[in-house]
Symmetry: C2
Subunit: 115 residues, 2 copies
DNA sequence: CAGGATCCTAAAAGATACTG
DNA sequence: CAGTATCTTTTAGGATCCTG
């Protein structure tokens, strides 16, 4: 059980396809993004959504998304800390891509093995 | 210099998103697919298209695509052998996804860093 | 020409334990 | 609660040499 992602480096970093791939790269990335598409989520909520996703990998995925400007994070003052991750307007641009991934996958599943 | 791909495993193998991700998974995958979208290509032609892609990795990528029924391969009789890889009708279903990857990447590049 | 066979390295992912 | 720190394992990718 895992979740697949786009994780390699780019031929030319300025290629739009590579930029888009970077956004959905890494195991669990699309599942985390799907959760965030539904609204802000805390670290724990994101973990609960994907029980077999470790804290380490979730942290890595979130750091990557934040670094790309696709997700922002706010922390509640006080204690214990509460976080709230949410998509930026840039991150929302990924919705059509996720939808197309779903549609294409459905189409592939509906096709016969080859030809 | 490389090319990024979706390369992880799936949470649930029957999830359409995972199926679509599997198709574009692995470094160089989208570039090889783009070449094939333009018509049948031989092994050498595919290598020439991506000079820094090794024979080993190209072989792996093609095997994966063939295994998924997205690409078919024919060999010329005689010697030396000539191969011709081409997209199956199933493989052609990936075109809208590649286009969406491009569009989304363009949109991301056009956005400001965050928010 | 079109790969196969090896070996090696570099990342990514996972498990576990611990901290502010 | 929200992570960080380590360590180990896994896997992808690259380099080189060889074959039908």
């Amino acid at each position: 059980m895992g979740h697949q992602t786009v994780t390699w480096d780019r031929p030319t970093a300025d290629c739009p396809v590579e930029v888009a791939l970077a956004a959905i790269s890494g195991r669990w990335a699309t599942l985390v993004l799907r959760d965030l598409m539904r609204g802000p989520r805390s670290f724990s909520q994101l973990r609960a959504g994907q029980p077999s996703l470790s804290a380490k990998v979730l942290t890595e995925r979130l750091e990557s998304l934040v670094a790309q400007g696709l997700v922002s994070c706010s922390r509640s003052p006080g204690f214990p800390v509460r976080t709230s991750y949410s998509l930026t307007s840039k991150g929302l641009l990924l919705r059509p891509l996720l939808e197309q991934l779903y549609r294409t996958g459905e189409a592939l599943l509906g096709e016969f093995p080859d030809h």
